[in-house]
Subunit: 411 residues, 2 copies
């Protein structure tokens, strides 16, 4: 019998149990990568993987794997599921953990039902996805995918001065396997949306087809400080106003483009920042994202042209590139399969782009990959108020279950 | 003989000599009110007033007067000229000092020529015009004009913790006269423009007909923090963008109004001020100025309506009034006389509004008052680069000379 339901209580209790680890005296949940709290979470996970009868493996960057293989399927490339269990400061209990424990739940369900998948199924918990202690984010999956040399990653120094390699050894999670030892046939990551779209539009499942490209720039506009009373409007070069015009320009473009483009000016400061002085200088950040590389370049070019226009008006403009990632396009066949299995269950599903970064974007370098989203209540994440309805958590795991059945040839 | 020229060398050397007082080790000029450096400047001025044969008087708020009276005109109300000699930090050498030493130069010229004015002529140096140590600015002239009780003014505590009354006593400039002992028939203040208008438009004299009203407000807009990647544009309440829209709105109004209205957003801050978080809150200041009270109210109303529109969009908006002064309209007859005497000398003159505050706006409560402006090179003030061409400094003093001749009935 192919199972069609997971054990909802086991999944939800498991999330709650992992979520109790790393609480401080004020009840704030923080399990930064390779800290003592992370060790507790990791040890808890390893114990659960072992209890489920999976073969536990840890690689040299600390990625944890639980593999369910049999004699008859051991030669086939495994289907990899997973996410991460490290957190930001004062985190919710779902970001990452849902993908790891949801994957474990699916494997336990299939195992208990006596199914015989045509390939091994493995669950991964990647090291340091959040980047809150060690930069960059998605560090463990980046190394796993061969995007960053292991030695370089181990030498990464934390915001608190510690070295990642030392910290992994200290907490007993510096494994012996070379990252990439496991070559997946495909990768699927179950995750909360961390945004408001599914909830607002009444969908219960997101079939994640793309992950936004990101362009981060820091712009400094220099004009001329002037007395706010004695300088007529026509004789000003108001850098603050030029910055405000740029923020409005970007938002108007993103609003009218009828595309998923998002533009955010998140930081802003004026100098001299005095009530009666026309700002001489304004510094602000621009966060542009789009799931299509061509459109992202168009938005960047539009910003450049706008800034060139300010230069023509007499402003000096400098632009510093802070980060740039191309969009990721997930595997079309898996995305279509996610839609099919969700529809077959009567769950409203839509294709969606991921606005946040995920381990799936790194693993997509190695093999076909995709993600399943479930709604985030109020779109909140990275916050103790992060929540998803229990029914949605169960539905997401059951969509993953159906998908795994299809992808591993269980009949 | 009625003199038609002043002693240019005496005026310019006098400005340079006073300007050498209060230089620090780095050559920065700072004579904050009632400091040791201010005492040096005051003592220097008092010595010059005495050397010119004027009767020196100091009132209880430290305003210094040099009076030229004769037996035959002593019963008439005096014509008062003047300004201030305190400075901001790292100041130029003209702001205020030009009005005091220009007035002294005019009196010395008339005295040396043996003219017999129909009324006494006095020069005043008002205490603490800059407000850089003791708030509010124009403190001495405000008390002189009866706008602030003496005891309250003397109890003012400086940014450095000192009490004004104590400091005036300490530096020997707490006089015995009650402020307002001298009731002027009229007041004229000669000053650098501190703005770019005269220079840019090729005028050498400004006949100051109004002094802008000022409206200072602090606006806080609260929206909703959201993930910059996962939140579509249509689902945002971006407080930073709302602030930027407000800055652009104010500037566009001021630009298109074809009036002297000026609008400045000088301070701006976002919270949480993180590159990938849609700002939850933006705080900024609005400095609105106009020489016409009706127009100033219109601009304030337009801002209020704009902010009400933001509230209708779902933002929370709070507005704090930081300062509000009505415009000052100077005496039409004196302004017209300034224009006439400047034209008679062949000096290009225009009527102008003062964008900055001056002692004249306080003394205007007591008697007919007006100001004469000379060009500021590059519009720069409150800065060591503050400068006016020597020829313009001389021209301004000679316009004052002609005006004083007219106003005191010298034939």
């Amino acid at each position: 019998m192919i199972p069609t339901t997971i054990d909802a209580t086991r999944l939800l209790d498991g999330l709650a149990a992992l979520g109790r680890i790393g609480l401080d005296a004020d009840g704030r949940r923080t399990r930064l990568a390779a800290t003592d709290a992370d060790r507790e979470g990791r040890d808890h996970l390893v114990a659960r993987l072992a209890a489920a009868g999976l073969e536990v493996a840890i690689d040299r960057i600390g990625n944890i794997f639980g593999v369910w293989a049999s004699e008859e399927n051991a030669a086939a490339a495994p289907l990899l599921l997973g996410s991460h269990i490290d957190t930001v400061v004062n985190a919710g209990h779902l970001d990452g953990c849902y993908g790891v424990l949801g994957a474990l739940e699916v494997i336990e369900t299939l195992k208990a039902a006596g199914t015989r998948p045509a390939r091994p199924i493995a669950v991964a918990a990647f090291t340091g996805e959040e980047g809150a202690r060690f930069a960059p984010d998605m560090l463990g999956s980046l190394v796993f995918a061969g995007g960053l040399p292991l030695d370089e990653a181990l030498a990464t120094v934390a915001t608190d001065g510690a070295r990642l390699g030392d910290e992994l050894a200290r907490i007993g999670h510096a494994g012996t396997l070379d990252p990439g030892h496991l070559r997946p046939a495909a990768y699927v990551e179950l995750h909360i949306e961390q945004g408001p779209v599914l909830e607002r539009e009444g969908f219960r499942i997101g079939a994640v087809e793309t992950l936004q490209g990101i362009s981060w720039q820091k712009v400094t506009i220099t004009g001329q400080a002037n007395h706010a009373g004695t300088t007529p409007m026509s004789m000003r070069r108001d850098a603050g106003l030029a910055a405000a015009r740029t923020a409005v320009f970007l938002a108007e473009r993103a609003n009218r483009s009828n595309t998923p483009t998002v533009a955010t000016v998140g930081r802003m400061s004026f100098a001299p920042d005095v009530i009666n002085v026309v700002p001489a200088r304004a510094t602000f950040t621009v966060d542009l994202r789009d799931p299509d590389e061509g459109r992202l370049r168009e938005e960047e070019a539009a910003l450049s042209a706008h800034l060139a226009g300010l230069e023509a008006e007499g402003f000096a403009v400098t632009v510093e590139r802070l980060a740039r990632f191309e969009p990721v396009v997930f595997d079309a066949a898996i995305v279509a399969e996610i839609e099919r299995v969700a529809r077959a269950r009567g769950l409203p599903v839509r294709r969606i782009t991921s606005g946040a970064g995920h381990d799936a974007q790194m693993v997509a370098r190695l093999c076909p990959a995709a993600m399943i989203f479930v709604p985030s209540i109020g779109g909140v994440s990275h916050n103790p108020r992060e929540a998803t309805a229990d029914a949605d958590l169960v539905a997401g795991a059951e969509v993953l279950l159906d998908l795994v059945v299809r992808l591993t040839g269980i009949r």
